[in-house]
Symmetry: C2
Subunit: 133 residues, 2 copies
DNA sequence: TCTATACTTGAATAACTATTCATATATTTG
DNA sequence: CAAATATATGAATAGTTATTCAAGTATAGA
């Protein structure tokens, strides 16, 4: 896994006493060596929020139609048969994770996909799901 | 976006009346044409569940240490400084989405990453997050 | 077979999240 | 400026989820 980590908060005072007995394959020293590989909590939280933005059917449907063209909120609401308010709330989540970008034009706000990562993540997930469930 | 969709439940009876006025860029006919591009609800839910499995700091940390080596539950618990029960519950979520696989050996259960999609998704997310926040 | 260990699981609780409803802001048009 | 439209937002509610605790299963060894 990438992200070989910077700050690790591994304190020898508490917690790392292994519950495993001696026959367990990995022991204290090795677990200590695992720490540098482990995603630091803060980064893990940031990343979880990002994946969280993708973890909702409504938001995924919004992204799927935005993949075809730029659309304003009321068109998105119409296409998904949802209230504009609900769509707007979800677009805010997508914006907060920079999954979509927007462009104001008069009273309309046109949304579109932010970058290619969105498509790539979508594709990876699709491939994974299509492999023998 | 991939996944050009199979069944679309677009019924002309209700919902698709456009809230947008005539100056809105996309009209009813075009919105109707959007439907085939839209992720069907069932697939969207399936995909949301998958991303949901990645949307938790604990599970991402588990994956990050499993990326370095196969590990048993008690070692994972020790490394993350969490109860074995909590870790086991989270591993169940990862298993349910086939993000990890496991191997029983005596009383230990050794977990490892399921396939390369995990790494790819991790990398895409990392790259996205590292771009100008 | 009895005990200990590794892991799993169900129920309960606390924290989080999606939608609705009401309201607010901004822009266009009369 | 007033009215209408497009979007955004705050509060409330209902549904979801992560962790804990207690109990359960399975395997190994005495």
């Amino acid at each position: 896994m990438p992200q070989p980590i910077q700050a690790v908060e591994f304190t020898p005072e508490h917690g790392e006493t292994p519950q495993c007995e001696s026959h367990c394959p990995v022991h204290l020293n090795q677990i200590r060596q695992l720490q540098p590989e482990m995603l630091p909590l803060e980064r893990a939280q940031q990343m979880a929020e990002f994946f969280g933005a993708l973890a909702d059917p409504t938001r995924l449907r919004l992204l799927s139609v935005l993949a075809t063209q730029e659309l304003c909120v009321c068109d998105l609401a119409t296409a998904l048969k949802m209230s504009e308010s609900a769509v707007s709330h979800q677009l805010r989540v997508l914006r907060s994770q920079r999954l979509v970008k927007y462009r104001k034009e008069g009273r309309n706000v046109h949304y579109s996909l932010a970058d290619s990562h969105v498509i790539n993540l979508y594709r990876e997930a699709t491939e994974h799901l299509d492999e023998a469930d």
